[in-house]
C-alpha cells in the first residue's frame, strides 16, 4: 500500500464529497417523488459542507470554513422547511407528490 492511500489528506475528503455530490445530483435529476428531490439537495449541501470543513482544516488554520458550514446547515434547515411546506400543499391539492403530475400550468 503506497502513501497516497494511507496518508489521509485533503484529496481524500474532497473525493468523498465528490461522490456524495454526484449521488445527490443523480437524485435531483432522476427522482419523480418531490421529497426524493429534496433529499438529493440535502446530499449536495452536505458535500459542500465537507469541502468547507476539509479546506478549513487542511488549507487555512482559521475557523471561517466552519462558520460557513454552520450557516449552510442553518440555511438547509430553512430551505427544507419551506420545500416540505410546498410539498404538503401540493399533496393537499393533487393527492400525489409526483412531480410529473403537477403540470396544470403547462401548455
Amino acid at each position: 500500500m503506497n502513501a497516497a492511500l494511507l496518508d489521509i489528506g485533503l484529496r481524500h475528503f474532497l473525493l468523498v464529497s465528490l461522490v456524495v455530490f454526484a449521488l445527490g445530483l443523480y437524485c435531483v435529476l432522476t427522482r419523480k417523488n418531490a421529497i426524493g428531490i429534496l433529499m438529493g439537495v440535502e446530499l449536495i449541501l452536505n458535500s459542500a459542507n465537507i469541502n468547507y470543513i476539509a479546506f478549513s482544516h487542511f488549507s487555512s488554520g482559521r475557523y471561517d470554513g466552519q462558520i460557513f458550514a454552520v450557516f449552510v446547515i442553518m440555511l438547509a434547515a430553512a430551505e427544507a422547511v419551506i420545500g416540505l411546506a410546498i410539498v404538503l400543499g401540493i399533496y393537499q391539492n393533487f393527492a400525489t407528490i409526483d412531480v410529473e403530475a403537477t403540470d396544470s400550468l403547462q401548455g
Binding site: G24, M39, E42, L43, N46, F71, L75
Partner: protein, 170 residues
C-alpha cells in the same frame, strides 16, 4: 494499515454506501433512513477533521431537525394502504452520462490540482473561536440569519395553512 486511515475508510464507506441507498432505492422510506445514516457518516468525517462544534450542530440540526421533518413529510404524503411506497426514477441513462462527465472532470481537478495546504495541521477545540467569531467579524450574518429564520417560520405557516371554506358551520 494505520488506525486513522482505517477509520477514515470505514466512515467514508458508510457515507458513500448510504448515499447510494438514498439515490438508488425504490422505496422512499428506505431513502429517508439511508439519508439519516449518510448524515451520521458525514458527521464522522467532520469529527475526523477536528470540527467538533460543527459535528454537534450537524447532529442537532440536520439529523434531529431536518431529517425528522423529512420523515414527517414522507409519512404524511403517501397513502396508508401502500406498503411499498414507490420512488421511481426517470431518465436514468442521460443523468448517469451527465454525472459521469461532470464527475470525471471534477475528479481530475481534485486529484490534479496543487491545493495550498498548511504544513502544520492543528487539532484544537473550535467552539470558543467560533463563538468569538459569531459575535465579532460575523455578527451581521448572524443577526441576518435569525431574521431569515423568522421569515421562514412565518412563510411555512402561511404556505401550509388550510383555507377554511365559508360553508363550515353556517
Amino acid at each position: 494499515m494505520p488506525v486513522g486511515a482505517l477509520i477514515f475508510y470505514l466512515i467514508a464507506a458508510l457515507t458513500i454506501g448510504s448515499a447510494m441507498m438514498v439515490a438508488f432505492s425504490r422505496n422512499i422510506v428506505y431513502s429517508a433512513f439511508s439519508l439519516l445514516v449518510t448524515l451520521m457518516g458525514v458527521d464522522g468525517l467532520y469529527a475526523l477533521l477536528a470540527a467538533d462544534f460543527v459535528a454537534v450542530i450537524q447532529i442537532l440540526v440536520y439529523v434531529g431537525g431536518i431529517l425528522v421533518l423529512i420523515m414527517f413529510a414522507v409519512m404524511l404524503t403517501h397513502r396508508i394502504d401502500d406498503v411499498a411506497v414507490s420512488n421511481r426514477s426517470v431518465g436514468r441513462l442521460p443523468a448517469a452520462l451527465i454525472i459521469g462527465v461532470v464527475g470525471v472532470i471534477m475528479g481530475a481537478g481534485v486529484v490534479g490540482a496543487r491545493w495550498a495546504q498548511k504544513a502544520d495541521v492543528q487539532v484544537a477545540p473550535t467552539t470558543y473561536g467560533i463563538g468569538e467569531a459569531f459575535l465579532g467579524p460575523y455578527i451581521l450574518p448572524f443577526e441576518f440569519a435569525s431574521i431569515v429564520l423568522l421569515v421562514v417560520l412565518i412563510g411555512a405557516v402561511v404556505v401550509s395553512r388550510k383555507e377554511i371554506r365559508g360553508e363550515t358551520g353556517s
